[in-house]
Assembly symmetry: C2
Homo-oligomer: 235 residues x 2
């Protein structure tokens, strides 16, 4: 937690917050913060700034806060991700938020196990929890938009072509494809497949919607690693 991320409900006055949850535990046990200290703070969806710890005990912490800087810029990217297995989903959500992806579409694919769609980690509150962890890590405040698309074909046929207009559309896919481009400044839509990859039908459908396959070498990476590697290379 490199940023103490605050919600409207934390405020007891215009410049005072009272914390009683995992953020209190983290300040006490990991950060070992003491009264008087200044901590980096941010307002969810707003600016970042500084908070002075007025008091801290086993049950609550009170801080005086001010916000004077904008959060870091987001990447100009929309990420389409085949639903990963639940444990990986949680980490990928953190990575997506930490790296500055503003919009994530979680998509079905032939190789996504049907049971993955039953995970409680897809509940909005569970998604938000992981995104917040990623924002705290990277000192960002703006939650990515997350869209769930349980049906591949209607999304890719009916909605993706409009999303892809005016962007560089890419599908990360191992195989005999051009290498992933570097240092782009234009907006990108990037699709990353499930374990085992997209099936050819899906690659064709994504291509018809304007997304061209690119590869990142012979090595098959875990989804979380592939997300970090592709984004770092693209921007």
């Amino acid at each position: 937690m490199n940023l103490l991320l605050l919600e409207p409900a934390d405020f007891i006055a215009g410049d005072r917050v009272l914390l009683r949850d995992r953020r209190l535990t983290h300040m006490r046990e990991v950060h070992r913060a003491e009264a008087g200290e200044h901590l980096k703070v941010g307002l969810v969806g707003g600016n970042i700034g500084s908070g002075q710890l007025l008091r801290l005990d086993a049950t609550e912490a009170e801080l005086q806060v001010s916000f004077d800087q904008p959060p870091p810029a987001k990447l100009p990217v929309t990420l389409l991700l085949a639903l990963p297995r639940p444990k990986m989903l949680r980490r990928v959500l953190q990575t997506v938020a930490a790296m500055g992806v503003p919009k994530l579409v979680v998509l079905n694919s032939y190789r996504v196990e049907k049971s993955f769609w039953q995970t409680p980690f897809l509940e909005p509150s569970a998604i938000r929890e992981q995104l917040i962890l990623g924002l705290e890590q990277a000192r960002d405040t703006v939650l990515p938009e997350v869209v769930i698309e349980k049906r591949f074909k209607p999304f890719v046929e009916d909605r993706l072509p409009q999303l892809a207009v005016g962007t560089c559309g890419l599908v990360g896919h191992p195989g005999d494809f051009p290498p992933c481009p570097r240092a782009l400044s234009e907006p990108v839509i990037l699709a990353i497949g499930p374990e085992g990859g997209w099936i050819p039908y899906e690659v064709d459908k994504l291509a018809a919607a304007g997304l061209q396959p690119v590869q990142l070498g012979d090595r098959i990476l875990r989804v979380e690693t592939a997300v970090a590697a592709l984004l770092a290379r693209l921007f």
Copy 2:
């Protein structure tokens, strides 16, 4: 597991292996393999190839194997990593092996908690276990060399300068530094700090040994994400 990685002890004949451990469980439960199927196989430290599953039951699997292709090329990099917390260490070892790092130096730093050095995950067998998982993921066979350096100063003063000769030496460090370069073809030594970063003394010492600070933007990334992002950008 995208590659069934075989050890000399698995062989019951020149082209036959018998498996009884987690690889058997994985073939049965995740891969749901059946007799007759062909699987990608590799020999630890050797070539990759194909294995035909001759029989498979609850206690053992027998395969006929042949090896005809070299493993994927490694990256021209030596990675210096401040010891991460134990849970992160395990994942980073997998990422390092999967991304093709041939040599990893795990190093002390002022901000590494002393207790981290007590973790059983630093035992050679535990390190090897995680590296194997990374190789299986990426379809590589060659174990990275892992060196443990519990004392920062003697390593950085006495051994690092020789390692850095003829390489591009870089320290990933947030701050007002040049951006991390892209698409290098020369050998690189890359140092990645602990949570909270290197302290200024350490950055100075690394610079004196030939490693210059570079940054990857305002966002503070988890070690595992930073490893993937920096390597993908550098090569």
